[in-house]
Subunit: 295 residues, 2 copies
Amino acid sequence: MELIRRVHLMREISQEARGKGRKIALAPTMGALHDGHLSLVRRARELGDIVVVSIFVNPTQFGPEEDYARYPRDLGRDADLCIQEGVDYVFAPEPQDMYPDGFGTYVDVLELSAVLEGATRPGHFRGVCTVVLKLFNIVRPHFAVFGQKDAQQAVILKRMARDLNLDVELIVGVTVRNEDGLALSSRNAFLSPEERRAATKLFRALEEGRRLIESAGETRGPVVEATVRKALAGSKSLRVDYVAVVDSDKLAPVEQISGSTLIALAAWVGETRLIDNVTATPAAAAVGRSGPDLS
Amino acid sequence: MELIRRVHLMREISQEARGKGRKIALAPTMGALHDGHLSLVRRARELGDIVVVSIFVNPTQFGPEEDYARYPRDLGRDADLCIQEGVDYVFAPEPQDMYPDGFGTYVDVLELSAVLEGATRPGHFRGVCTVVLKLFNIVRPHFAVFGQKDAQQAVILKRMARDLNLDVELIVGVTVRNEDGLALSSRNAFLSPEERRAATKLFRALEEGRRLIESAGETRGPVVEATVRKALAGSKSLRVDYVAVVDSDKLAPVEQISGSTLIALAAWVGETRLIDNVTATPAAAAVGRSGPDLS
């Protein structure tokens, strides 16, 4: 494994690899790697001849009041984990190299970026899209692997890739969870033991919403949303930011559920903001998708 | 010469050419080709093994009140000219193929896009940057040639290329002019004979500004600007939009001229809006740039 700190070096490496016909797979991260990231890295390992893990806590996707400064960083440990996973290159550039003086170019995916996370975190997806496009141009991957935990991010980046004619295939890896269901997140490290217990409510509430759609046949989006909200209530250290029942591709609120539906939420657990989501498909639509079973 | 109308075909062609190690040079245009464009095409011919001329009247760079609908289009004639110039591919996509349903991704170069043309034409450079980035991703050129007549566009696109780590070299070709100095422009076709005569004032006024800086030793930006404005006055069919004396790279107004300076203007000649510019460097700075001459 080689640790690359300079943009121009990473470019040279990827150009040379491409020139030799090697397939490059990128797993972009902000470091503080956990098993969720490592599952993406393994996915990248399956897809590419060369695996690049980028580790960059991207300042432009944090709001001024957000946790950029205290976001966990441990490049030494991250590098060790990447070695264990057989990663070829860890690309960990300096902010000044990514955003040199006079930097002023930003990418926006309108509409999709205005809802859910974007409503609470204005400018967040502008920062995400901009840094991901830069990483794509530097690393020039054939495949890029993102996590389903950041469901809206994945939808937005796929739209960006289509709209800008990017020559990269985006892969979305499933959310990795603790045994009690809590989605792995670098921010879980901020939780106190009590908050950690409260945080398990997030996935349980989402699962109630999914059961309502997939098993109980509920088709009214607002009813599903209310059920999830109710399941989150009653904990002093948990405060809901949003619960949304939306179309999986367009992220528009769904009144009448008929196809693949995203149930997404964000909540403050103490001082830590966590997100999670599940996808649910009504039994009828799930059958319809694979064709009628007449046997 | 092959005329390519579909995005996916152009991608395949450029991928194959790159795979064979051929250098691709792109001259992006909106068609209605004149000798100014052809000088860029010849520059591309010198640079690349394969020359692509894109012809696309890009809707996203026109404001709602602007001349998108009446912008001159003559693909047959343009294609003939490209054949004569030895162009390999004319890429002339349909708007629907460039901006499919649900398109929502845009690129902005902040600050540089807010002044001069951007102040009069809000959203113009967002449209330019977005389409140029798309063209770069589709054609994957090693070189892209733009005209100095669109000086601000060239500065903005260079900034975009740097900021987004694009792997393309931007070349700026000199402005081609009629014998009387009027810069070639597809929009000149809209001018009446009287307007055509009035339009010659634009370059004459710019030249007065340049002489003031380069020969008369004037270093006060506002004085140069006033002189250019005065030279433009007195014609009923000519109305100034802006005259600006700015730093050639940062496009910021220059009070005290010391280095390469852009004198740029836009004016309405009848119903047609024309732009032009010259670059001026004070004698002292010009000498300084190439080192002291002690002979």
